[in-house]
């Protein structure tokens, strides 16, 4: 029998045009990745406010990943360029505060990259799993 295996909670923000479609393609091709990953669809990666990411950690997420169109391919022409800057600064700040940098990630996944989506999620879940539970950005009240 399997002992209570630690299952991290992963929130994946996916832009509607590329990454969400990439996730769909992973599904169409039956490319498995852990069920711990739950996707939130946003119009563009630039819709993702740093507050959403902190919120996810507060609520008990162990990892947050943001997926968008490849730079240059944004459906809205420039949204992901802003995402890239915002997240570079935010992640760097989290790291500065001593929060494990592996818990956050940005990945560019096109609508054609179902395989990349699945591989990315497999890798991210494994990484977060090896870190264990998020303790440094948790809000114990939420876990009650």
């Amino acid at each position: 029998m399997q002992v209570n295996e630690y299952k991290p909670k992963i929130v994946a923000f996916c832009c509607n045009w590329c990454s969400y479609a990439g996730a769909d393609l992973a599904g169409s091709n039956r490319l498995a990745y852990p069920a711990e990953v739950k996707v939130i669809r946003v119009p563009c990666s630039c819709r993702v406010n740093p507050m959403f990411i902190l919120r996810a950690f507060q609520r008990g997420a162990d990892g947050v990943i943001l997926c968008g169109c490849h730079p240059g391919d944004c459906h809205y022409t420039s949204g992901n360029y802003y995402t890239r800057r915002r997240m570079a600064l935010l992640f760097s700040m989290l790291e500065y505060l001593g929060i494990e940098k592996e818990r956050t990630r940005v990945e560019w996944v096109s609508a054609a990259e179902g395989a990349k989506f699945a591989a990315t999620m497999n890798d991210f879940v494994a990484t977060v799993k090896s870190l264990g539970e998020n303790k440094r950005l948790e809000d114990l009240r939420c876990k009650r």
């Binding site: 609520r59 008990g60 009240r141 939420c142 876990k143 009650r144």
Partner: protein, 342 residues
């Protein structure tokens, strides 16, 4: 009067900590001073004041009130207050001791605030006379005697010893438990220190500040003063004065959605905030001038009106030292206080 030599202070603290959680003021890095839970060998700070007052022990900044748990469509209500353990706060200055009296008026009056009452019952205050009051001190303005700090046990620290005098029953009980580490003493050293303190108090820059013009039923006299506008002009509307104040007692009750339900808690609020006591029609005090006036009118007029003349300022001087723009109750009193404060 009991005495404990300073060389024996660790034994004293260990003894107190045997039966209750002991908090003593401790020097931290960069001149910071805070109450810390006592651990063996910890050294007590000689600083005049802790950055935050002893209010935190009885009325903490956030406090859980109750919890609602939802399962599907049913709701369960859980009283999840933390039962306070017995604790001793050591080295509380006269002003902060007095502040608890102010808070008692609010929280122990009907309807009694059971959360506060619970903590109050479990806590013992060992006060400490001030040998080196500072320039921002003006407790004398409100009739507080820094050389007679009261509390449950009154304490004096000289160059070589602590001297204790039980003031309340709770204090007597605690002092009795300390017989093994204290000895009986006369009051000579303490009286000397009292004299010494009085001399220093007479030299303080704010010694002449008078509150006589303020007090109960003076609303009409001050409410419409044109000075409020100038005084409040630079106020940022932050909560610094409120949150460092040992007597400010306003709080907000909030619900926090947890994963399974709702945690209801209260947290300090500030009348300086634009979203203080928001009602269906919004904030009753729309401008910073009104909010600013409220705070000082409350300390100097409204509170005395409702509490037999007791001011709700104890002259601890924290707001004087901490206000980002250096506006404070002393300047307000001097500006509004008429002849007495010229």
């Amino acid at each position: 009067m009991r005495k404990c030599s300073l060389s024996n202070s660790t034994a004293l603290f260990n003894k107190i900590a045997e039966n209750a959680t002991l908090y003593i003021p401790v020097d931290l890095e960069k001149g910071r001073v805070a109450y810390k839970k006592y651990a063996d060998g910890m050294k007590m700070s000689d600083a005049l004041k802790t950055d935050r007052s002893a209010k935190d022990f009885f009325f903490p900044q956030t406090e859980n009130l109750m919890e609602f748990k939802t399962e599907g469509k049913s709701i369960e209500i859980i009283d999840n207050r933390s039962e306070a353990e017995d604790f001793v706060v050591f080295g509380v200055r006269a002003c902060d001791v007095k502040s608890l009296e102010v808070l008692d008026k609010v929280f122990l009056a009907e309807p009694v605030d059971s959360y506060y009452k619970n903590r109050r019952e479990h806590g013992v205050i060992v006060s400490m006379a001030c040998t080196r009051p500072t320039e921002t001190c003006f407790c004398g303005t409100f009739g507080i005697d820094a050389s007679a700090p009261k509390g449950d046990i009154e304490c004096y620290k000289t160059d070589d010893a602590f001297y204790f005098n039980a003031v309340t029953e709770k204090g007597e009980a605690l002092l009795a438990k300390l017989d093994g580490v204290t000895e009986s003493s006369d009051e000579k050293a303490v009286n000397e220190q009292k004299e010494q303190i009085k001399k220093v108090l007479d030299k303080l820059p704010l010694k002449d500040l008078k509150a006589d013009e303020f007090g109960a039923d003076k609303t009409d006299k001050f409410f419409n003063s044109p000075e409020w506008k100038n005084l409040s002009e630079a106020c940022l509307g932050c909560g610094t004065c409120t949150f460092v104040c040992p007597t400010c007692q306003c709080y907000d009750i909030k619900d926090f959605k947890t994963n399974k339900g709702v945690q209801r808690f209260r947290c300090w609020d500030s009348c300086m905030y634009s979203d203080f006591t928001k009602m269906s029609a919004g904030q009753p005090r729309l401008t910073q001038m009104e909010r600013f006036r409220q705070r000082f009118m409350h300390k100097l007029v409204y509170f005395p009106t409702n509490n037999d003349g007791m001011f709700s300022c104890v002259g601890c001087g924290r707001c004087v030292a901490k206000c980002p723009i250096s506006m404070n109750i002393v300047k307000v009193m001097k500006t509004l206080g008429g002849k007495n404060n010229d």
